[in-house]
């Protein structure tokens, strides 16, 4: 070809085997000569990185002195321009050279990052270049022939994990309260005793535990009710629910002789604990009776349809009152120990406090109206508890969406305190001897917590008290042990409070129980 003789000798020597090169092929060679042969095909960087394109080749393959002559071919266009032998074009080519020269600083900065292809140019020239740029020659840049493997984990999966992480997350445990009261006593975070409760129904709305003043614990396991004598550890099956239904609530009468049992079909049964006989069945409710509360001879029952009935267990016409104030299922029901007030919580997020005075037996319109109604909770109110040492105090706790405990003054109807907890409040127990109350919680903490009143400071938190949500709790008559039940089919006994020391040793419990029951008697 016409331009062939014009190709500098350096180029010819480099590509002797391929002497008859077309211009396009030559430029192609220029472009790829820098990269290693194996990588050349796949390497995009030669094209994207301006420093590794033709300019770099030029700077590498020729010394600056030689390039100053202006006869160097750098690119295809330059070559063509050179071929025309036009003086003006030569000037242009010269200016391009100057630009290359100004880029030399940058190139030099990058030179130490590069390997020098010593085979392609004369050893003498390479040595001179190496000396001029201060780059050691005996260096190679190597990389492993395989590309690193892509991540094997599914990006979609990891994204989904990211999204559900908050659901698994548990709020961080708060530092334990530093009040002096906690320092003086240690609360065991281990249960004192664990009882197996096979088949206990894992239902938030039921109330399946009750501890009588005679130190007898009643528990309903599906359709059977059992009593466990805490003193002897003796277990007796009390009775069974009618065929095809289950027990939804149990509650001991205040004297501990009778057990009220609510069943899924709406009947309320009365059992004699001593003789283990069913005394009567009181019908009338249209759906499940999930909570019961005694006030002397009156057994109040909260029904799935939102009604609360008073049953006088002594008379044949048992229904002596009806309280209508809940739109949803009544899931918490507690008489104040003096029988003046009845507190109820419902699945409609409402807390009602009712006047306890019941009209004459048989009076047609003996329907009460709530003394006051509170709608502060944002979830079902299952936990309601009257304070034993300050009768006007009522604590109520909301479900999952709410997880808040409110303390009410029932005389004025004022909300005195509120406490946000990490998870749903399933029950509240006030300590009879201390200014504290215990709350039990559901998922995710499954915890027992003790709070001081009125500071609302957390005294202790026992996380993962059960393997699943803690649903029920009941306080021993002595006021020292709390029994909790959960869907994990365990009943656990926690000694969280002490009975004030009256006597030492084994008699303490007896004395404590005696004093508690005498309290109840005196209140009556």
């Amino acid at each position: 070809m016409a331009f062939q003789p014009k190709t500098p000798s350096r180029h010819r020597s480099r590509s002797e085997a391929k002497t008859p090169l077309t211009p396009s092929l030559l430029t192609g060679l220029n472009a790829i000569s820098f990269a290693s042969p194996t990588k050349a095909g796949g390497k995009g960087s030669d094209l994207t990185n301006p420093f590794f394109t033709n300019n770099v080749n030029a700077s590498r393959s020729s010394s600056p002195v030689k390039r100053a002559s202006g006869s160097i071919n750098v690119s295809d266009s330059l070559q063509k321009q050179a071929n025309t032998a036009d003086a003006a074009n030569r000037d242009e080519a010269g200016s391009e050279e100057v630009e290359v020269a100004t880029n030399m600083d940058d190139v030099a900065a990058n030179l130490d990052m590069m390997s020098l292809n010593t085979q392609s140019s004369s050893p003498g020239h390479t040595a001179r270049l190496a000396a001029a740029t201060g780059v050691p020659l005996n260096r190679r840049i190597l990389s492993y022939h395989e590309a690193p493997p892509p991540s094997a984990s599914d990006s979609m999966l990891s994204q989904q994990r990211e999204l559900v992480r908050p659901l698994y997350g548990r709020p961080g445990a708060l530092p334990t309260s530093t009040s002096t009261s906690t320092k003086t006593r240690k609360i065991s975070t281990q249960p004192e005793r664990v009882l197996d409760a096979p088949g206990i129904v894992d239902d938030f709305y039921l109330n399946l535990l009750s501890w009588s003043c005679q130190n007898v614990l009643a528990v309903a396991l599906a359709e059977s009710s059992y009593v466990w004598k805490a003193d002897t550890g003796e277990v007796t099956q009390l009775g069974e629910a009618p065929e095809g239904t289950y027990i939804s609530a149990v509650d001991f009468a205040n004297d501990g002789n009778f057990l009220g049992v609510g069943v899924g079909t709406g009947e309320v049964e009365l059992w004699d604990v001593e003789t283990q006989k069913k005394l009567r069945t009181m019908t009338g409710h249209s759906s499940q009776v999930a909570c019961l509360s005694w006030n002397q001879h009156v057994l109040s029952s909260g029904c799935g349809d939102g009604s609360i009935w008073h049953h006088d267990v002594r008379v044949a016409k048992h229904k002596v009152g009806e309280l209508l104030g809940h739109q949803g299922e009544v899931c918490g029901l507690k008489w104040r120990s003096d029988g003046e007030l009845l507190a109820s919580g419902g699945n409609d997020n409402v807390v009602n406090v009712w006047d306890g005075r019941i009209g004459d037996v048989g009076a047609a319109g003996s329907r009460g109206a709530a003394r006051w109604t509170k709608r502060n909770h944002t979830a079902a109110v299952k936990a309601v508890a009257w304070c034993p040492w300050q009768p006007s105090l009522l604590a109520s706790g909301g479900g999952t969406n709410d997880a808040t405990v409110h303390i009410w003054n029932t005389t004025t109807g004022a909300r005195l305190h509120s406490l946000t907890t990490p998870s749903q409040v399933t029950s509240i127990q006030w300590s009879p001897h201390r200014k504290e109350f215990l709350t039990t919680h559901g998922f995710p903490t499954n915890a027992l917590m003790i709070h001081a009143y009125p500071s609302m400071e957390r005294v202790v938190e026992i996380r993962d008290a059960h393997d699943s949500r803690v649903l029920w709790s009941t306080l021993s008559p002595a006021g020292d042990v709390v029994c909790t039940g959960a869907g994990d089919e365990n009943l656990k006994f926690w000694r969280v409070w002490e009975v004030p020391k009256v006597k030492k040793g084994k008699e303490v419990k007896e004395a404590g129980r005696g004093s508690t029951s005498s309290n109840i008697l005196s209140i009556r």
Binding site: F34, S143, P149, S151
Partner: protein
């Protein structure tokens, strides 16, 4: 295994984790060297690193590697985003079998701890990488180095253009045999 290689592994893994080259799911924490270190759960990556590091080990012991570079490259545009450079200086001519480091264990552990801590802290000044990235490990070896054929190939330095690069020197690490100086260069325009 050469002590400096152990450190290099920790270094590389924690960079791959911190810079998000591999998702966090691929790593898990292991108690090691008196602290929690990251270990990859990705078998393919583990094998890959093992192959590379086995060769590095040989080079380190013969003193023929002068620099190891971990380049983090954009997956799509193939431009180099970050270049983690480990300069390896041979303190003394090593014997063929690795001499046990005479440095007290506690001191080495403290150094490892500091190095890993510093890598975590680099996240604060390094630009956030939004795009998916891959990495490449380069070894700068002497011409005379023993190179297994077909496994290691001459390559581009994957440099970041001088005008667009910022460099930060990191902590160094030294054993009786090697002194490793670390440096990170990252693309920064603006």
């Amino acid at each position: 295994m050469c002590a400096s290689l152990v450190v290099l592994i920790l270094w590389l893994l924690s960079i791959l984790f911190q810079r998000g080259v591999y998702p966090a799911d691929d790593f898990h924490m292991v108690k090691k060297y008196g602290q929690t270190v990251l270990v990859t759960q990705d078998l393919a990556l583990e094998n890959y690193l093992e192959k590379i590091l086995a060769q590095m080990n040989k080079w380190l012991l013969t003193g023929s590697v002068t620099q190891i570079v971990l380049a983090i490259i954009s997956k799509d545009s193939r431009t180099t985003m970050e270049r983690w450079v480990f300069d390896i200086n041979v303190v003394q001519q090593p014997a063929i079998d690795a001499p046990a480091p005479a440095k007290p264990e506690s001191e080495i552990q403290a150094e490892i701890r500091n190095i890993l801590k510093q890598i975590v802290s680099t996240v604060t000044f390094l630009p956030v990488i939004d795009e998916p990235t891959v990495f490449n490990i380069l070894a700068y070896t002497s011409e005379s180095a023993d190179i297994p054929a077909n496994e290691w190939v001459d390559t581009d330095p994957l440099a970041i253009e001088a005008g667009k690069s910022q460099q930060v020197k990191l902590r160094s690490f030294s054993t009786d045999v090697h002194r490793i100086e670390a440096m990170v260069a990252y693309r920064y325009e603006g």
